[in-house]
Amino acid sequence: MREVSIVGIGYTSFSPVTPDLSWKELMFEAATRAYADAGIDPRKDVQSFITCAEDYWEGFSIFDEFTPDQLGAALRLMHTVAGDGLLGLANAYMQIKTGLFDIVVVEAHSKISDLLTYEDVLMLAFDPIYEAPLGGHPHYLAGLEMREYLAWTGTTEEECAAVAVKNKWNALRNPLAPYGAAIAREDVLSSPYLFAPLKKLEIAPLVDGAIVLVLAEGELARRLTDKAVLLEGIGWSSESPWVGTRLPDARYARLAAELAYAQAGITNPIQEIDLAEVDDRFAYKELQHLEALGLARPGEAGQLLLEGAFDLDGQLPVNLSGGSLGMGDAVEAGGLQRALEIILQLRGEAGARQLPDPEVGLAMSWRGLPHGSGAVAIFRREA
């Protein structure tokens, strides 16, 4: 059975604004670093390129025609996925797994600072007949879900606030993260309600940045590098668009995880997974996602968090990168942000936040409001 490995990583820093560069130069920087890391020439060695981009974020229709040059993909096999970076990773995984290609590149980026009307464009993602006419700031949907999640599980506002405290503290140890801060739970709890019960410091601010991953077939990967990381499983799932019919249990995450666990041969995720990076665009989502992924029992993630289980020295460190709360919400690059931290940790390159000896890591993405879609990837260090 063919294996799939990550053999190269490249990334820019993440920043709220990048007025000096266009998205082309952001992508070129990340791609150049990734190819140098993998020791490959994109014009000769890469057989397929995949970008992840949403036309409305970019402001171009048919954005895929603008992507090849800055990846070295001009006149090569290339396509664009209109979704989160982990969906691009899933495409790359399948292209290698099926034997079609041996080296594939995945890119995702955010140049969301170019968009002047983020809230209005986000509202365009709401159902145009039933939901969009209600208007307002679209993040109120997170307030609705958070309240229902708290009511269902008995999770408290204090526990949600503690997610923001942990992730911003972790971000202080990640040089890529612009939103690191040493704050107390009281600071989060006293930050203003924006969409009650959701508070200001529980919402990830937007950032620009780009990430490129190089994937290779397992045997080839071992010849290319001694720091290959296996991608052992990847799954994804989408909810029905009817917001009113959804339950606050992030079912998309559970179903995506079931597929990824099956591929990776994971039967007891709590025992087998050493660290996780999960979507935390809104603080409560981290707890909800951990429960959906089977990394905590329903309603218990908040209490485990307060006990320190998800800290750097806890039994399952979560979002050591700082998550989206610490690194910023990089729209379609969110999933690759999560994956990047897992890969850095498994390579032993995570600096001040490095875990002693991690073997298996999970990265989970959510496409953001009003979406009910997510993806899960399982990575393993080479033995």
């Binding site: 007025p19 130069e25 800055q70 070295g72 170019d114 009307t117 464009v121």
Partner: protein, 169 residues
């Protein structure tokens, strides 16, 4: 044999009675131009056309870019071009976006700048020329807006006109 459609077209009034939802997306952007395009636009204000040279393949690229898509490496130096060029291809556009016939057809095309490498053309208008006089390979030169009206946009060049006076209209 093609069968004739039965019935008749809906009138505009009838069509408007069918339920529908009207929306106007509010999507506004301010794209960062980046170092290459940013400087290109600034130079247009001065009436100059700027390119970048790639020392990997030796090409002179316009529009300028900070990396070469063929070599996949950073480009190396700025190059000023004379602004003149030749017509690579052209079309005569007779209708507007609502498919109405326009009185004076728009002459659009791709021109290859003198001093730039093959395949580095840009799109623009042609003017001061009768449509039937245009031909592939015609030598053209830029007609700039007055300096005070230039704003750092590709439209700071009003159009390109034939270099030979006898071809002009």
């Amino acid at each position: 044999m093609i069968s004739q459609p039965r019935g008749r077209k809906l009138s505009r009034e009838e069509a408007e009675r069918v339920p529908h939802v009207v929306a106007r997306p509010k999507a506004r952007y301010a794209w960062s131009a980046g170092p290459a395009t940013g400087r290109f636009l600034e130079e247009l204000k001065e009436g100059r056309v700027l390119a970048r040279r790639c020392n990997g393949c030796g090409r002179v690229l316009v529009p300028p870019r900070m990396f070469c898509e063929r070599c996949f490496r950073p480009t190396d130096e700025w190059v000023y071009l004379p602004g003149t060029g030749t017509i690579q291809t052209y079309s005569i556009s007779y209708i507007d976006t609502d498919a109405n016939r326009i009185a004076k057809p728009i002459l659009v095309g791709v021109l290859a700048f003198d001093g730039a490498s093959e395949g580095c053309g840009i799109m623009h208008y042609f003017g001061e020329v009768a449509p039937e006089k245009l031909y592939i390979g015609m030598e053209v030169e830029p007609v700039w807006k007055p300096q005070a009206e230039r704003e750092g946009a590709i439209t700071d060049i009003k159009y390109f006109r034939p270099r030979r006076k006898e071809d002009r209209q």
